[in-house]
């Protein structure tokens, strides 16, 4: 009961904040509302027994990535654009495609016999499910190579960002 209540609270706030991200005029407010979405999702991750992922979400996503965003928005001092949305037919088709995507996803999710609807494996989980130790064990055995490749990706990103920032013109 408590879990359902918390889920409703987090989900409601997340959806509200997400709508704000897309439709608010001021980019700084958009970034902060996105932080709100991220924090609410971290709460939902905790409901799903993913404590470590929730901690990562707060430290890495909300604490580092979004601060970078906020920095750029503040430094560029971008005012809310007028008009807010793309003018003309692009706007109409944008909403239309989004609606189609949503209907498709709902159809997949609600499909009888699909993964989402199935009363899947309800075997009790081990107590350490979602702990840093459990994640580390999987990450450094099964997923070792992808993990190493990720570090190279991050290195490339760092070098790329420095190169882009150093040059006067692109």
């Amino acid at each position: 009961m408590l879990e359902a209540l918390l889920f409703a609270m987090f989900a409601g706030t997340a959806i509200g904040c997400a709508l704000g991200v897309v439709f608010h005029r001021n980019p700084v407010h958009c970034a902060l509302l996105l932080v709100g979405v991220l924090l609410n999702l971290a709460g939902i991750f905790i409901l799903l027994h993913a404590q470590f992922v929730a901690a990562l979400q707060v430290i890495v996503y909300a604490g580092a990535i979004m601060v970078l965003f906020l920095f750029v928005v503040m430094l560029l001092n971008v005012k809310g654009e007028t008009p807010l949305l793309t003018p003309g037919a692009a706007k109409f088709f944008g909403f239309l495609f989004a609606l189609i995507v949503f209907v498709e996803m709902l159809w997949t999710v609600l499909q009888p016999g699909g993964d989402a609807g199935a009363p899947a494996a309800q075997a009790p989980l081990p107590a350490e499910f979602g702990s840093p130790a459990a994640l580390g064990r999987v990450l450094y055995t099964v997923w070792l190579y992808p993990f190493e490749i990720t570090s190279i990706l991050l290195l490339v990103a760092v070098v790329g960002a420095v190169v882009l920032a150093k040059r006067k013109f692109i």
């Binding site: 889920f7 996503y61 965003f69 949305l85 009790p124």
Partner: protein, 105 residues
Amino acid sequence: MLGAPAVPLLWYQMLAAILFTIGVVGVLVRRSALVIFMSIELMLNAVNLSFVAFSRQYGSMDGHVFVFFVMAVAAAEVAIGLAIIVAIFRNRETASVDDVHLLKG
């Protein structure tokens, strides 16, 4: 030992679908490159939620690993993407995607 989840997986998937759709709307209809970027983050997060929920359902940690990778990729993407936006802004004094159309002829 953790028991069965009180909230069915379906709800989590619905939430993920709604957040993803809001992200899609943002990418398609907003003009500011920064907000489009934020909408992409929103979509990535919707997918993360889906991963974590499935992970819980099937009792496997692999979903968490994927979320980890998504976060790493998002960090790299934001670093590069924001650098590009800053570079464009320096040259053209705009952060609106509709004004960057040099290749349009």
